[in-house]
Every structure is written in structure tokens, then in C-alpha cells.
């Protein structure tokens, strides 16, 4: 993913509206899309571009709310239990920690990564990208962070965790009193916010503004004869 510095830099095309579908590689020109519309690949129907009204400001507002909820999710208990006169409760991190203590190191690391670290990275990367792009000349690190967001998104599994918590809650409630913790509601809110962010965020808008990693390459563009061929 990041270890590309050994390779030679490609020459960009002059026409920035030309894209290839990530799923079928069909070369095509992005149509003029109005805010609220989506451009799809004519061959395999993959969404190529969601253009959204005021995308970056709205995403920033949702991301600030998500950062706040993410913080809450990780400090307050997820589930509490009272049985036989004893009470216990656990946070997300506490769950991973206990697996680790039982010798399940790999599974504990996976739970920690997918339920704590990846969501936190996803939200903080997005926050930094959205704040960085607000300066006059967004620096190249904005692009570096943006490039790694899909990876954090892939492994961030809050919605799956929420379902897991609900199943565990149902299971345990058969023989003990389970108290849903505040974190359950916070995760629920966070799942909704992250889904909304995914609908509203338009990375193309950031890419158009960001400083190129290879500033020189921006000006030496390749010829346009391939555009003619593509039509």
C-alpha cells in the first residue's frame, strides 16, 4: 500500500475527467454530475462518483460528532451484568484485554484492531483530511492520509460489533440481568454517522484541491491522443 517509493513516477493525463472503472477498467470520461447525483460505470454499474451538495463541510460536521461518540464508546461500559449478588461490566477494550489474558492473543488483537483502533484511525484520518483541506494550499500529507482511509474503513467493524453485542445481550439475559451500557447507544449513533459520512463524503473534491505528491509531474502531462481513442 505505502511502499511504492521504489517505483518510477507515472505521467498524468491532461484531462482529469478521464477515469477507469475500478471493477472493470473501462476507460471513460466522467459526465457533468449535478450535486446529489451519482455517476455509474455503463458497463458494470459500479458507482464512480457521488457528487454531494456542500460535501466537505457536511462531512466535517458529521465527523466531529463521530469523533465525540468514538471517544465515549471507548470509555464507558458496553454491557453490565448482575447475577448472584455480583455485578460486572465491560468496555470494548476490556473485552479484548480479557481474551488476551486467556491466551487468545491473535483474536484479542483482531478485536482491538477492528473495534477500537481501525474506527479511531478512520475518524481521525478523516478529521485531519477535512481540516487540512480547508487551508489555502492543502499539503501532500492530506493526500497520504486520504489514501489510507479505505484500509481503515475495511477493517473498522463497529456495525458488526453492535450486532455481536446484541446477540451476547440476548444470550446472557436468559440467566442473568444484563444492563445495556451507554456505549451501546453511542455505537448505534456512530454506526449511523459513519454510514451518513460514507454517503456524503466526496473524496474527488479533496483530490482536486490537494498538493500533488510529485509537484513537477502536475505540469508535464501526457498527450491527449488516448482520449480520442477512448471515445
Amino acid at each position: 500500500m505505502g511502499k511504492s517509493y521504489g517505483h518510477a513516477v507515472n505521467t498524468p493525463l491532461a484531462d482529469a475527467s478521464l477515469v477507469a472503472c475500478p471493477n472493470c477498467d473501462l476507460l471513460q470520461r466522467l459526465p457533468a454530475v449535478a450535486p446529489g447525483e451519482t455517476a455509474r460505470c455503463p458497463r458494470c454499474a459500479t458507482d464512480l462518483w457521488h457528487r454531494r451538495e456542500d460535501s466537505l463541510n457536511r462531512t466535517l460536521a458529521l465527523t466531529i460528532a463521530a469523533a465525540f461518540l468514538c471517544f465515549i464508546v471507548n470509555i464507558v461500559p458496553m454491557l453490565g451484568l448482575s447475577a448472584a449478588g455480583r455485578e460486572s461490566s465491560t468496555t470494548v477494550f476490556g473485552g479484548a484485554e480479557l481474551l488476551w489474558e486467556h491466551g487468545m492473543h491473535a483474536v484479542a488483537a483482531l478485536v482491538f484492531f477492528s473495534a477500537v483502533l481501525a474506527p479511531a484511525l478512520q475518524i481521525s484520518f478523516l478529521l485531519l483530511v477535512l481540516l487540512g483541506v480547508r487551508c489555502g494550499h492543502p499539503p501532500a500529507w492530506v493526500g497520504t492520509l486520504l489514501r489510507h482511509i479505505p484500509f481503515t474503513q475495511l477493517w473498522s467493524m463497529l456495525e458488526v460489533m453492535l450486532l455481536g453485542v446484541l446477540v451476547a445481550l440476548t444470550k446472557i439475559s436468559e440467566f442473568a440481568t444484563v444492563m445495556p451500557g451507554h456505549a451501546i447507544f453511542a455505537v448505534g449513533g456512530l454506526v449511523v454517522l459513519l454510514a451518513a459520512i460514507q454517503c456524503i463524503f466526496d473524496p474527488r473534491e479533496v483530490w482536486e484541491r490537494v498538493e500533488w505528491a510529485e509537484t513537477k509531474a502536475r505540469h508535464e502531462t501526457a498527450g491527449t491522443q488516448e482520449l480520442e481513442a477512448a471515445r
Binding site: T11, L13, V19, L27, C44, T90, A106, M157, G164
Partner: protein, 213 residues
């Protein structure tokens, strides 16, 4: 724009997966670097089919102990009791709890096996150079990529059950070895999806179209 077209690779162009910029690699080179975001560029993922197949074989091997070994052990005063994933599903089945039981059954047992089967089919169809129903096969790939993560649900169920039920000496729940293999199946199938390059599905179709033109 019609469905008959040219792919970026046929014109010697690469489209950055991260930022979408189309660029031309230096003459004679297969790999390059995106000038805008410095991401790694390559026409098609390297050894995509072999690597996907390797992850799938590893996942299929782990799938057996994941289903046969217990994932959780309940220790009570009267003794120890171990549950496999399937026993967990059965235990959850009740007049009120059956929808959740069904979700776990689908997420933990049906999705991983369907995912392995679907990817094996995709790998073989690409290896055969099939040009049949590419649209449906890409759709299948996208569904597999979208639902695969839900298999993790049992790992989280076990995590929270173990974390909560620590009422020694009355009752305690411990994670059991099956959980490791189960988590391994989920991770390995996700890696198999990530190494598979869906553009390979369309390549035989694209080259046919060019020959006809």
C-alpha cells in the same frame, strides 16, 4: 458512451485506486507511482489468482476446526460445558430469540462457506478465460466483498460473553481454540477478497471487443 469500450490497460494507462487519477507509466515499466497521491500503480494486482487461491485454501483448512472445535467453554460449579458455533446457534433458538439465532447461523456458518465457494468459482472462471456473464460475476464479487465482514459477529459475541461472565466460582466463560480458527477464516477470506482483482473478470470480454472492432 456505450458498453463497448477500451480499458485503461489496453491503452497502457493506469488508474489510481486511491485517487482516481489516470496516468501513464514510464516506457517499458509495468509498475509505477501515482503522481498525485504517491500510491502504488499496477495494471493488474500481482499474482492475484494464485494469492487469492492460497488464502482460500488456508481458509478452507481453518474452516474445519472452526466448526468442529468449541468456541466457548462455560465453567460452572457442576462442571464444564463446551459449545461449538452450531451448538451456540441451537442454544439461541427460542420462541423469542430465533431471529438472532438465524442471523448467527447465516453470518457464521453460511456466509464463510458461501464466500469460499463463490471466490473459488470466480478464480476458476477467470483462469478459464471465461467471457460469460461478466456483469453478474462482478456483482457476485461485490456482494462477497460487502457481506464478508458480518462473519465477525460470532467473534464479538464470544468476546463480550467472556468479558461479562466472570462470576467465579459460580460461573465463568472461557474462550476455546475454535474461536481462533473461526477468526482466522474471517481474516483469510477478507484477504482473499482484497487480493482478487475484479478487473480480471472483464479482461477476456474487453480483448474480444477490441478484436471485433
Amino acid at each position: 458512451m456505450n458498453a463497448r469500450g477500451v480499458t485503461a490497460m489496453q491503452l497502457g494507462l493506469q488508474c489510481c485506486e486511491a485517487c482516481g487519477l489516470v496516468s501513464r507509466p514510464a516506457p517499458g515499466l509495468e509498475e509505477g507511482r501515482c503522481p498525485r497521491c504517491a500510491g502504488h500503480l499496477i495494471f493488474r494486482k500481482k499474482h492475484s489468482l494464485q494469492r487469492t487461491m492460497a488464502y482460500l485454501i488456508a481458509a478452507a483448512v481453518c474452516y474445519v476446526p472452526a466448526n468442529l472445535l468449541p468456541v466457548m467453554t462455560t465453567i460452572t460449579v457442576s462442571g464444564r460445558e463446551s459449545d461449538t458455533i452450531m451448538q451456540g446457534v441451537v442454544r439461541l433458538w427460542s420462541p423469542t430469540g430465533w431471529p438472532l439465532s438465524l442471523i448467527v447461523l447465516v453470518a457464521s456458518i453460511m456466509i464463510p462457506s458461501a464466500k469460499i465457494a463463490a471466490l473459488v468459482y470466480l478464480v476458476f472462471s477467470v483462469r478459464r478465460g471465461s467471457a460469460q456473464t461478466p456483469g453478474q460475476r462482478v456483482l457476485l464479487f461485490r456482494i462477497v466483498r460487502g457481506i464478508g465482514r458480518w462473519s465477525m459477529v460470532d467473534v464479538f459475541v464470544a468476546t463480550f460473553t467472556v468479558a461479562l461472565i466472570q462470576l467465579q466460582p459460580f460461573m465463568a466463560v472461557e474462550p476455546s481454540p475454535g474461536l481462533f480458527f473461526f477468526a482466522a477464516v474471517v481474516v483469510l477470506t477478507m484477504l482473499a477478497v482484497e487480493t482478487f482483482d475484479p478487473r480480471l473478470i472483464w479482461d477476456p470480454v474487453s480483448s474480444k471487443e477490441v478484436h471485433h472492432v
